[in-house]
Structures are given as C-alpha cells and as structure tokens.
C-alpha cells in the first residue's frame, strides 16, 4: 500500500475530527451561581429565566451522579469544564449567511453540510450550534411565511417569551435527573421550534451541533412545540474535534405534540468516540423526552455511532388517548466505546400504541446496552406495545446487553418484547466473499441489512449519511 493510501485510511478514522481555529470567547472553567448569572446576563435573559436556572442549579447541587447505567468512566470534574464558549466573530450577530465567518462556513463544508448548497439542493432549514451558540439559521423567511418559528432558543426567549415560559421544563422538569438539572442551570443555546395549529412544516428542520473549543462542555436545549394538528420533521447532527481529553455533552430535548400533532425527530450522532486505545471522546449524557397529547404522534429515530460514553433514552409520554410513540435506533460501538441507550414508553392514555425497534452493534472491545421501559398505567386500556431488540456482535472482546423493564397494570394492554443476540453469520460472510466482496465490505453490507428497518425511517439524506457512518465506524473491526 502506498503512503498516500495509508494516510487516507488513517484520516478516514474520524472525518469530522478537525479543529477550527476560530477565536472564541470562553468562560474560565468552574461552576457556581456566579457563572450562571454571568451566562444569563451575557445572553440578556429576563429575570424569570435566571431564577429558573438558579433553582435548577440548587436542585443539581443536592443530586448525585447516577451510577446505574452499564458504563464505566473516571469521575467527571465539573469544575474543570468551561460552561460557555462562543465564536468571537459572532459577537455582532450575523443577520444572514453572508455575514457568517467564512472559516465557520468552511468547517461546515468539510462536514458535508454546506449551508448554501443545502439551501438550494436539500431545502433544509438549518440551525447550527457551534460550541454553545447558534451561528446561523437558514431559510427563516420562508418558514415565517408558514407561521413556523425556528430560531435559537436564546432568541425565542426574547421574541416569544410566552411560548418559552409556558413550555420550558414541562416535559423534562428542571430536577428530572442529574444531567438535566445541570443543563437547566447552564444551558447556553439550542433550537426552538413552534409549528402553529394545522400547519404542515414546509421543509425539514435541522440542527447541527459541534463542540470545537477545548475543555468546554456543550449544554444545548431544544424545545419543539407542535400545536394542534401540525406536523414537523426535525433532524439533528453532531460532531466534535479529536482531542485526548473527554468532553462533556449534556443536552435536553423537549417535544410537545398537542392534540393531533406529529413530530418526527431524527438524530445522527457522531461525536468523537475516542481513539482506538480508548483515549478521549465525548461523554454524551442526554435527556430527550416528548409528550404526546390526544391523537398525537412522536417518533424518535436515532443513529448513534459516536461518543466515548453514551447515556441516552429518548422517551415518549403517551398522555392523550390514541397517541402513538415510536423509537427506532441503531447504536454502534467500536474500540472502547460504551453505550447505554434505549427508550421509555409511558402509556397513560387509552388505546395508545408504541413500537420500539432497537439494533445494537458491538465491535472491538466496546460495550453496548439497550435499556428500555414500557409502562402500562392502570388507565391505559387497550394500549399496545411491540418491542424488538437485536444485537449483533463482531469480535470476541465486545459485549452486548439488554435490560428491558416491562411494567403492566392494565389487563387489556398488550406488551410484547423480544430480543436476540448473535454474531455475523459465517454463512452470510462466506456467501458474500464467494461473490468477490472482501470481508470488511461484506460485514458492512450485512450490518446495513441488519439496520434496514431503522434506516428506512430516516429522511433520505440522513439515511445515506448513516450508512456511510456505520461503514467508517466499523473500520478495522474485521479480520
């Protein structure tokens, strides 16, 4: 193999692992009430929000870090994290794409989300969160015509305070859990979406997150409200540079689907997973939850290939009668990655339905756990759940676990759960190789087939990206 080939192969390891040399305003590490006041002041927030943050912070101080997940990592020093970092050239706030730092735009181009191009080709409106602040939101005019509000949450606090105040923290309460409380105290930015009654959002909305600055944490907060009878599809992507240290990402996502509304939330998570020796990588501790009112539908689709440690359970509270919850997930771990991910389906209303399809793939020395809860409350008459969790093992040092909790308190509710674990079958591999595919390509093909049920739920551009991501992430795990 020529040197060039080797270089190429190495650089493919984590294609998003570059560092953009952008001047930024970064708060010194440490966390106390002063830091929270500073963040709040910096963003010119109203007093109610500051008090809200402080209350969350006080709750957080009473809490202990959860240890029940099947992941192991050294204790995180929250005092060593910087809680705010914003690209300096953003200070004056770009009014349109033309005003955005060209280097920033180049960063996105490198990642394959050229905003201009996307504007034209994909018709996707993008809100990009760089470190902690939103840098650009495209397509706002067109969305405004439909009455859709899509802006950074820091802006929504000023422009639509009544909506933010009404819904913020209603799905994930401030003191819901350790990381949600931390997020509530220090969240810097994120996306805010409001779809008015009966509106079908004219395009797919998209957020892209990137941690760039060293020693910073990212704490974004997303709030999506779909008013009665509306419909929205939202995409989220994330990356981070390659660094030897572990960086913290603790996000909160809240979805509110009012009567008859539909929200589809898709994530391709590709935070830096650490190198082949397990050094570095993002700690991804995320709380995602949606409330579905009468006849509403919430659908989570996620492709998780990144992060050193993942702790994430996108959940649906099926509050209204006839509401529907869906969870489609592919979680891939390689090298020393650890993932403990799954979902919760809380059936409260009558005739609520939920489907869980989870595909876990473990390779290298990684550990991949599905942890899920299906709860049928006494009032959930006629509710229905179907769960399928499959795990695929590649290599004899990896681990795959399944921890499904099923709690049923209604006799007319039906819960079905099944799970299987196996390895890539020798027969399938043999068949592919016999037809001239090399082992790596064959495994990638089999894995893609294994995940097919989930990929078909992803919007098209994402499905292609997800397939490629799996291929890259599995490199070096065969043979």
């Amino acid at each position: 193999m020529s040197q060039e080939h080797i270089d190429q192969a190495i650089s493919r390891e984590y294609s998003a692992g570059f560092i953009s040399a952008i001047e930024s305003d970064t708060l010194p590490p440490g966390l106390d009430e002063e830091v929270i006041c500073w963040i709040s002041h910096k963003k010119g927030e109203p007093d109610w929000l500051l008090q809200w943050r402080l209350e969350a912070y006080r709750g957080f101080r009473q809490m202990e870090e959860p240890t029940w997940a099947h992941v192991h990592y050294p204790p995180i020093d929250l005092e060593a994290v910087s809680y705010y970092s914003s690209p300096r050239s953003m200070k004056d706030g770009p009014k349109s794409l033309d005003e955005v730092d060209p280097e920033l735009l180049a960063t996105y181009a490198k990642l394959g989300i050229p905003l201009h191009e996307q504007e034209v080709l994909a018709g996707v409106a993008v809100d990009a969160v760089f470190d902690s602040v939103s840098v650009a939101t495209t397509f706002r005019g067109k969305l405004a015509e439909a009455g859709v509000i899509f802006c950074p949450i820091s802006e929504a606090v000023h422009s639509h305070p009544e909506l933010v105040r009404k819904y913020l923290g209603t799905v994930v309460p401030r003191k819901d859990n350790y990381y949600a409380a931390l997020n509530s105290a220090v969240f810097s930015d994120g996306s805010f979406v409001y779809i008015p009654k009966g509106v079908r959002c004219p395009m797919e909305l998209s957020t892209y997150f990137r941690i760039n600055e060293a020693k910073t944490g990212q704490f974004e907060r997303t709030l999506i409200i779909a008013d009665e009878g509306s419909h929205v599809s939202y995409l989220e992507g994330c990356t981070a540079p390659m660094r030897d240290e572990n960086q913290l990402h603790a996000a909160v996502v809240e979805l509110v689907a009012l009567d008859g509304a539909q929200i589809k939330y898709s994530t391709v998570q590709n935070w830096y997973p650490g190198d082949a020796q397990g050094r570095g990588g993002i700690y991804n501790f995320v709380t995602k939850r949606g409330v579905a009112h009468r006849d509403a539908k919430i659908s989570w689709t996620q492709v998780e290939t990144g992060s050193a440690v993942t702790w994430k359970y996108p959940s649906c509270i099926l509050r209204g009668d006839n509401s529907v919850g869906e969870f489609y997930s592919v979680a891939l771990t390689n090298n020393f990655q650890q993932a403990d991910t799954g979902t919760k389906m809380i059936h409260l209303g009558k005739n609520t339905r939920s489907t869980i399809i989870s595909k876990g793939i473990s390779a290298g020395a990684s550990s991949n756990a599905y942890r899920g809860l299906v709860r049928m409350s006494p009032k959930a008459a006629g509710a229905r759940n179907y769960t399928q969790c499959d795990s695929l093992l590649i290599g004899d040092r990896c681990a795959a676990h399944t921890f499904p909790y099923i709690e049923s308190r209604n006799p007319s509710a039906v819960v079905e759960h099944e799970a299987t674990t196996s390895k890539v079958s020798e027969d399938q591999l043999y068949l592919c190789q016999q037809r001239g595919l090399d082992a790596e390509k064959a495994v990638s093909m089999i894995v893609n087939g294994f995940c097919k049920e989930v990929f078909k739920e992803l919007p098209m551009e994402f499905a292609v990206e997800a397939g490629k991501l799996l291929e890259v992430s599995l490199e070096g795990s065969v043979g």
């Binding site: 099923i406 209604n410 299987t420 674990t421």
Partner: protein
C-alpha cells in the same frame, strides 16, 4: 440491621453442633453489618420488604398435629422427609424406601465423617460473596438436610422433602437449608415442597437450597411453594453444574404476602444443560417475585427457561430473568421466555428479561409478553356453548398447563393438574371442565 430476627439468631446458637456454630457466627457478622435493601436497590425495585418490619421469634414445632395424608402426595412412593416449622418430624417421615446409593443426613444428626463431608460441600454453590438473606440463613441455621447421591447411582423414585409451617403463638421464623450432592453420572429427582400458613398467622421462611451436580449427573428438581397468604418466604436455589451435567428444574409458586425466590444456575463445566421452568399464580393481594440468573461461565452449554404467570385480583408478580454469558463462553445457546396473563384491572406485572453478553459466538434470545386472555379464543369457546366463566378457566389452565406438562414425574403432574384447575375454578362446578 434492624433486629427483627434477634431472638431467632440467639436461639439458633444453642444446641447446634460446634461446626455449625462457626457458620452461624460468620453469617451473623455479615447479616448485622448490612442493611435491608429498599426499593432503590435494583434487585428489590419491585418487592418491598415492609412485611418483615415486625419481630419474629424462633419457631417451635407448632400446635397443630398434621396428618401424614396432609403432606404426602398421593401416588408418590419413595422416601419422604417432613419438617414442621423447621423441626424434623419422624412420625410423618418415611425413609424405609431410601434406595441404595442415596443417603439422607440431617446436619444436627451428622457423625464426624458426615459432618466433614457436609462442610466440604456446604456453601460451594452459594459462593463467598453471598447475598444478604443467605447470610441470614447461615446465621440462623441450626439444622438442614444433606442428600448425598453416590456416583453412578440411579434413583427411580423421587425424594420428597416437605417443609410445613404450622401455627404457633406469635409470628415465627423458619430457616430451611438443603444440600444436594449428585455424584458423577448419577441420576435422581428431588421434590421440595412447602406447605402451610393457612391459619392466617405470619411466618417467615428463609430457605436456601444448593444443588451440586458433578460430571455427567442428572437431577430433576421440583420446588413447590404451596404455602398460603400469611407465609412469607425469601428463598434461593443455587445450582452448580459440572461438565456434562443436566439439571431439570421446575418451580411453582402460589402467592403470599411476600414471596421472593432467587434461582441461580452456575455453569462450571462444558456441555452442561439446564432447563428451568416455572409457574406463578398470585391472587388476592399476594406478591410473587422470581429472580432467575443463568451464569454461562464456560463454552458449549445450553439453557432453556420458560416462566408463565397468571396474576389476578390486586396481586403483583415480578419476574427478572437474567442470562449472563461470560467472556469466552463461546457456542452458548440460551433462551428465555416469560409470558404473563393479567386477569384483573388491579393486577400488576413487572417483568425484566435481561441479557448480558460478553462472548460473540453465541445464540441468545428472550421474549416477554403481558396481556389478558385472548378474546377471540374466548369467543370461539362461547360460540360452542361454553360459558364465559368456564372458558376463562379452560384458557387460563391451558396457558400454564403447557409448562406443567414439562414435569417428568408423572405422580407430581397428576397431583398438580387437578389442584391448579381447582384454583382457577373458584366455582367447584367448573373443576370438572378442565381436570
């Protein structure tokens, strides 16, 4: 640790053989150094130990004279060993038919040679890092049964061990311990049978059974929890399988205020196989909790597990089925199936089948369902003139009968089928429909 067992522990120490007192001391130290687990402990998330928050005294032999007919299983010959409130009852036991190759020794009765053999094997299956209630069991252990099956022996009749709780003055506690050692290539069956508690007086049984299967041994093990409402039971069965051993284990639990059974199967040699089946039927305000754990430590073993439950009234059932495949336990095949029927709006089922896998060349699957009786099937029966009530009994019985059918001991099956049919059909007229 709260001292609700204080009097029990104190009285256990008197009159036991010295070697047993060493165990008691060690167990007591561990017990007293710990605290009772609460709902925040994962293993006890769905089971409250509130029922233990009262003082229990050491059992005496009880004030009820049981008739031998009450504890014997009809049609079941073979040796029978009966304990009333933990005390050996020679009058009701019959050991004449104990076949050659098998020896039954009580811990308190063991001579030096036998005591040495017991000590060599006791605690082998439970291991050192033992759970809290096993420590309590050892702290309060003043007697126990050692069943020693010689290598190559083949026992035709099952050995029937009965533990009966009979009323006495105040709430009392019984400690049960059984150690079964199956020698190489032997084959045997053991029925553990718990009964009593009908008088409405509280009793707390803390049971530990150890099954040691040496290479090539085969054991059929049945554990029947037929105690009534007031009999609290925290029990544990811990099995250890050597190369090529086969364990067939069947469990049945009617409910009580608190019934928690842990079943652990440890694979220590290749080529071993275990079949673990069970049925639980709580009703009223009863609570049944089965925690099973299959530890596949070595390659080339198989396990198959089926548990079914019917939960009625405002009863609660908990099932936790864990399959743990250790690193290098390649070529393991393991499967688990848990199905539940809820027959009332107040009933509750919490089930958690778990897979924890560290080896890649394995085939594992688990499934769990919770639902009510199939309306279509009921409709079918009704359209053929079967009343709804009778149809429900037939379907419920059919649901668990699939598991009951897996019992190899015919006499036991013949005993259980009509008994369970009667349990479902609260109206005696319906019993005939199914049995």
């Amino acid at each position: 640790m709260s001292d609700f067992m204080q009097q029990v522990l104190d009285s256990a120490a008197t009159g036991s053989p010295p070697w047993l007192q060493d165990w008691q001391r060690a167990g007591r130290q561990r017990w007293q150094a710990s605290t009772l687990p609460g709902r925040k402990t994962e293993q006890w998330k769905y089971t409250s130990l509130q029922g233990l928050q009262q003082r229990f005294v050491a059992a005496n032999s009880g004030d009820v004279e049981l008739s031998a007919a009450g504890v014997a299983l009809p049609q079941l010959g073979g040796p029978r060993l009966v304990f009333v409130n933990g005390f050996y009852s020679p009058a009701q036991s019959s050991l004449e038919s104990l076949p050659p190759g098998a020896s039954l020794v009580r811990f308190s009765d063991a001579d030096d040679q036998q005591a040495k053999r017991i000590r060599a094997h006791l605690g082998l299956a439970t291991g050192r890092d033992e759970p809290l209630f096993t420590a309590l069991n050892e702290a309060a252990m003043s007697d126990g049964v050692f069943l020693d099956i010689a290598p190559g022996a083949s026992l035709a009749e099952p050995i029937h061990v009965v533990w009966v709780s009979a009323n006495q003055g105040e709430a009392f506690s019984v400690t049960q311990r059984l150690l079964v050692l199956c020698g190489e290539s032997s084959s045997a069956s053991v029925i553990e049978h718990f009964a009593g508690g009908a008088g409405g007086q509280r009793s707390f049984t803390n049971g530990v059974t150890e099954l040691l299967l040496q290479a090539g041994a085969t054991l059929c093990h049945y554990r029947l929890h037929l105690e009534q409402e007031a009999a609290l039971h925290i029990g544990r069965v811990q099995a250890r399988l050597a190369t090529g051993a086969t364990l067939n284990s069947f469990h049945l639990a009617l409910g009580s205020e608190l019934k928690r059974i842990d079943l652990v199967v440890d694979y220590c040699g290749e080529g071993a196989h275990c079949e673990l089946n069970g049925v639980y039927l709580p009703r009223g305000t009863e609570h049944v909790d089965y925690h099973t754990c299959i530890e596949h430590r070595v390659p080339n073993c198989t396990s198959s597990e089926t548990f079914r439950g019917i939960v009625g009234d405002s009863a609660t059932a908990v099932f936790n089925g864990r399959i743990h495949i250790h690193r290098d336990a390649q070529k393991t095949r393991a499967q688990l199936n848990n199905r539940n029927l809820l027959t009332s709006t107040q009933a509750e089922v919490n089930t958690k089948p778990e897979l924890e896998i560290y080896a890649d060349d394995v085939q594992c699957a688990h499934g769990a369902t919770v639902a009510q009786l199939d309306e279509l099937a009921l409709h079918y029966l009704r359209s053929r003139g079967v009343s709804r009530a009778a149809g429900e009994v037939m379907l419920s019985f059919g649901f668990i009968n699939e598991v009951i059918e897996s019992i190899r001991c015919e006499a036991l099956r013949d005993y259980l089928q009509p008994m369970l049919a009667a349990r479902f059909a609260r109206d005696p007229a319906l019993v005939g429909q199914v049995a």
